[in-house]
């Protein structure tokens, strides 16, 4: 009997052990299943191996600008003209090896630069006898520019010889081969290890949630896991492929790997976050907050003023049109309007056109000249003094309207016109810098409201400082808010609105002042630029939800609920209606393409021709490349006329920052009930802006009737910059156990990004290469 009891106890013990660990085992099995699926996916997506032979018709290869075929004995060759390209379909990111069999006629002496996807990979000087030349190129998942993900385009630049077929001389191609440099093995360590790391994080996160309810568990499993599955392929693959770039400094590669290693540490800290979050920080005094705001404002303004003077004239998106609007208000003495006109002036004033030429705009920008710029940087030998001093007499300053900015409401431009008017007698560049300074001031103010929003949410000055300083130092926002652009005022008013909405949520009662403020800010927002209108819907919903009578309906409860709504509505109407009334009184009918309103009416007139399903397919075709460009590159930092990028590694780190932040955010949503309502509100604001920009602006106003997108850019999402940064930081902070060091490091990281951006600007435009 004792023996039987022992055996029974043994089994019971092990059964209990098994039950205790069954969840772990199931979790690990699930994770391994995901890992297998990821690896299988990688294995299936083997990179391209393709060949082009001049003597044969090669369907998968596209030729451009090649000359005639030539037969010499058994060898068939095709003439390579200058600018010839050979495009192969590529099956995915990998390191590729390209072999070109080339020969040159004796008279040809020039070297040829071989470029792949626009990147020079080497130069060759072909000899009279046919020879193979080999090059390597890494197609990076994160380095895709539009349409560069699926193709490898081999270009022959500066090819000497005749510019057209039929003339003697030239370079001849007989064969081209593209193949993977190394096999895309399933167990390739640089991909496998980081994928395992991510899975380890998931496992730690699951372990950290013991004790929470089933609903949260399901929520967690349904939300972050698909994200992790995606992230585990994309982020480490992108990061590691970038880290293994030839020539990358080992320290930098180690830095990237170190960042990945931070993730499991963060997951382990998630439980600690619960304890820390329970500790209520000491409430700050008004004086302390005022000091914080002053410091943020000074830093934000200081950096923006740097951008004001360092960004060369006119080299910011749409700056010419926005400046023309401001100039029109001051010089013509009216707000720009669409036709009919009483007097006909040029679209841009002669003064503006001359300054454009003087500042070499079209020679240094790919947008300005519509071709490849011939200047690497602003020349050393040039008469800059006359450029600085150039100004025209008033008749040469008149313009017809505000270029493409004409249909926009005038509030921002009226503000920017003040410094323009003050500098009226100064050269045009000084007037430009003065108008830019008005933007800088508004941009710096918005950072203050970012602080207030974060403080309102967390009641912690550290959060306020982190968010305010991050907004102050975010490179793309610094750049845009240091140019003449109505986006700046739009971001200011939308950040104020986000702060007020958060106050509505947090305050026990809604004061008449708060309700009126919401209305006035909403009205201002519409009077600046209507592309942040979605935020108004969220603000209105929150306000309505807060004032909706919870108890039995009575006249008293309805009135107390309706009063804030009436106040807010009056404020909105007061601001928004007055300006258009003034505008309509002076100016004629609206309806120009280029504005949301104009395009919307155009769409209504023409009727929808392209379905929403085709729009989704259109976005799918653009793929990750497009979204990487939209939400990472153009949101964090692409300068000039959206043609000057930061180093590629920077964007990869930002992608990593996004990925980890979103994972943390999902975990916080699932397990931290105290912050759920705040995060829901902020995510609601973000979601509303996303839906508005994609569905209303991009689809209804453009794609539905033209079949192509409007051309969204990251800056169009700046109205939700403060909420977006807050939720990302919140996710990170949660994973870091709400450690205060994180909130200190975030502005430091932004400062580094800011310095990298400034270095990028001075390197490109002024030929000063730092580091």
């Amino acid at each position: 009997m004792p023996h039987q009891r022992n055996v029974r106890n043994f089994y019971l013990y092990h059964a209990a052990m098994l039950r205790r660990h069954v969840r772990d085992i199931a979790t690990l099995a699930g994770l391994l299943l995901i890992a297998s699926a990821i690896l299988a996916g990688l294995a299936v997506a083997a990179p391209t191996r393709a060949q082009f032979i001049a003597a044969e018709q090669s369907d998968p290869v596209t030729l451009h600008n090649f000359g005639e075929l030539r037969q010499e004995g058994t060898l068939t060759t095709r003439r390579v003209l200058s600018g010839a390209t050979l495009t192969f379909a590529a099956n995915g990111p990998a390191r590729y090896r390209m072999t070109l069999a080339l020969a040159a006629d004796a008279a040809t002496v020039e070297t040829v630069t071989i470029a792949v996807n626009g990147v020079a990979v080497g130069t060759v000087r072909p000899e009279p006898t046919m020879r193979d030349y080999t090059f390597e190129y890494t197609l990076l998942p994160a380095a895709w520019d539009l349409d560069m993900r699926d193709t490898l385009t081999i270009g022959f630049l500066d090819a000497s010889g005749p510019a057209s077929s039929g003339q003697p001389g030239g370079i001849w191609l007989s064969r081209a081969e593209v193949g993977p440099y190394s096999p895309w093995a399933m167990l390739r360590p640089e991909l496998f290890v980081p994928n395992l790391l991510i899975l380890l994080v998931s496992y730690l996160a699951i372990r950290a949630i013991r004790g929470v309810g089933h609903v949260q568990r399901v929520l967690f499993l349904s939300l972050p896991f698909p994200l992790l599955a995606l992230g585990s392929w994309f982020l480490p693959s992108a990061t590691l492929l970038a880290a293994y770039q030839p020539g990358l400094h080992p320290l930098r590669a180690l830095g990237i790997l170190g960042l990945i290693a931070l993730v499991p540490l963060g997951a382990a800290g998630a439980r600690r976050a619960e304890r820390r979050a329970a500790q209520t920080p000491q409430r700050a005094s008004r004086r302390q907050i005022a000091h914080d705001l002053a410091l943020i404002f000074i830093v934000a303004l200081g950096f923006r003023l740097l951008w004001v003077v360092l960004v060369p004239p006119w080299l910011a998106p749409d700056e010419g049109s926005h400046f023309a609007y401001v100039a029109h208000i001051v010089e013509n003495g009216e707000i720009p309007h669409p036709p009919p006109y009483e007097q006909i002036y040029p679209t841009f004033s002669p003064e503006f056109g001359q300054s454009w030429t003087n500042t070499l705009y079209s020679r240094i920008s790919t947008v300005g000249g519509g071709s490849v710029p011939d200047l690497v940087h602003f020349p050393i030998a040039y008469d800059y003094e006359s450029v600085r001093e150039y100004k025209a007499a008033p008749p040469d300053r008149y313009n017809q309207a505000g270029g493409t900015a004409t249909p926009y409401p005038p509030l921002y431009y009226l503000i920017a016109a003040i410094p323009y008017q003050l500098a009226w007698d100064a050269p045009i560049l000084s007037r430009l810098f003065a108008s830019r300074s008005a933007s800088a001031l508004l941009g710096a103010l918005s950072c203050i409201f970012g602080y207030l929003m974060a403080y309102e949410l967390r009641r912690d000055r550290r959060w306020g400082m982190a968010l305010g300083l991050s907004m102050a130092l975010l490179p793309m926002y610094s750049f845009i808010s240091a140019s003449v652009n109505n986006d700046v005022a739009m971001v200011l008013s939308s950040t104020i609105l986000a702060w007020l909405v958060v106050r509505v949520l947090r305050q026990p009662t809604i004061s008449p002042r708060l309700a009126a403020a919401i209305g006035i800010v909403s009205g201002s927002l519409l009077a600046i630029k209507p592309t942040a209108a979605a935020l108004l819907a969220v603000a209105g919903s929150v306000l309505f939800w807060r004032v909706f009578p919870r108890s039995r309906l009575s006249l008293r409860s309805i009135w107390s609920g309706a009063r804030p709504l009436i106040l807010a509505g009056s404020g909105l109407a007061g601001i928004y209606c007055l300006l258009p009334l003034y505008r309509l009184a002076t100016l004629g009918a609206a309806g120009s393409t280029g504005s949301v309103e104009g395009l919307a009416s155009a769409a209504l007139v023409q009727g929808s021709r392209y379905s929403f399903l085709s729009y989704i397919e259109f976005q799918q075709r653009a793929g990750l490349t497009y979204f990487f460009w939209l939400f990472i590159k153009t949101f964090w930092g692409v300068f000039g006329w959206l043609e000057l990028y930061m180093p590629e590694d920077t964007y990869i780190l930002i992608a990593l920052f996004y990925g980890i932040g979103i994972v943390g955010l999902c975990a916080q949503f699932a397990f931290h009930a105290q912050t759920r309502s705040q995060l829901t509100l902020l995510c609601g604001l973000i979601f509303a802006q996303l839906v508005f920009m994609f569905l209303i602006v991009d689809y209804f106003t453009s794609f539905a009737h033209s079949g192509s997108g409007l051309g969204l850019q990251g800056r169009y999402f700046f109205p939700v910059l403060a909420p977006a940064l807050f939720v990302l930081f919140s996710g990170w902070s949660y994973l870091c156990g709400e450690h205060r060091l994180f909130l200190r490091l975030v502005p430091l990281g932004m400062l580094i990004l800011q310095l990298i951006s400034l270095a990028t600007i001075v390197a490109k435009y002024y030929g000063v290469i730092i580091g």
Binding site: V109, L295, V299, V308, A381, P427, V768
Partner: protein
């Protein structure tokens, strides 16, 4: 004394170290606009067989103050020639051509159809925007002749090509590289300032300076405060 805590001292040291590190960053500043004769799809041709002290002169406007190197695309007619090629660089100053640099190269060192690089150490003082000319003179008989590739279709203003003193259309294939001022950030501040303020009049230069002066102390205060 709240301002003398260990934490503050550590932060102060870190800030100072960071500023020092920033100042020690290596910097390269362009001092001239490097130039290469464009081909624009044209076919290069040899200027003429050069021998028996024949000369070819190319004039061009200098865009920098110090010429670091001059590269010429020379042809050797697929052979190894003996003799010497003399290069003389002149600058037009005070209404006369003055020699600012000379070099000689053994023709055996020349590689057919490739650019031969003449490096000047110290760089030649060209004093910005001045007209510069360089002349190659080649000795030996016609069996030792070399040539220089030219673009016969491109000749902008202030560019002049002379063969044995006689003007000729086109421009020789050459590359001019100007000296790059290299050094540490704090050493090159005057050059950096000169470049980044090209569009700024004194008022906006002051704004640039003030914004830097505004940022640095405020950032330090933020670092030292503990919210």
């Amino acid at each position: 004394m709240k301002w003398l805590t260990i934490r503050h001292r550590i932060i102060a040291i870190v800030v100072v170290l960071m500023v020092i590190l920033l100042g020690l960053l290596p910097v390269r500043v362009q001092t001239g606009d490097d130039f290469r004769t464009p081909m624009n799809g044209a076919t290069a041709i040899p200027v003429a067989p050069l021998y028996n002290n024949a000369t070819v002169t190319q004039e061009f406007p200098a865009s920098g103050k110090a010429i670091a190197s001059l590269s010429l695309q020379l042809a050797t007619y697929q052979r190894r020639n003996s003799g010497t090629l003399f290069l003389t660089v002149r600058a037009y100053r005070d209404a006369e051509w003055r020699i600012i640099g000379e070099q000689a190269v053994d023709k055996r060192e020349l590689v057919d159809n490739l650019f031969h690089v003449f490096t000047f150490q110290p760089p030649l003082e060209a004093q910005g925007a001045e007209q510069i000319s360089f002349t190659i003179q080649v000795d030996g008989d016609d069996k030792q002749a070399i040539s220089w590739w030219i673009n016969p279709d491109w000749q902008p203003t202030n560019y002049r090509l002379l063969v044995n003193g006689v003007p000729r259309g086109g421009t020789g294939n050459f590359i001019v590289a100007y000296e790059q001022r290299t050094g540490l950030l704090f050493q090159t501040l005057p050059e950096i300032w000169g470049r980044v303020s090209i569009f700024l009049d004194p008022v906006w230069r002051l704004v640039l300076l003030m914004s830097i002066l505004l940022i640095v102390p405020t950032s330090i205060i933020i670092l030292l405060r503990d919210p």
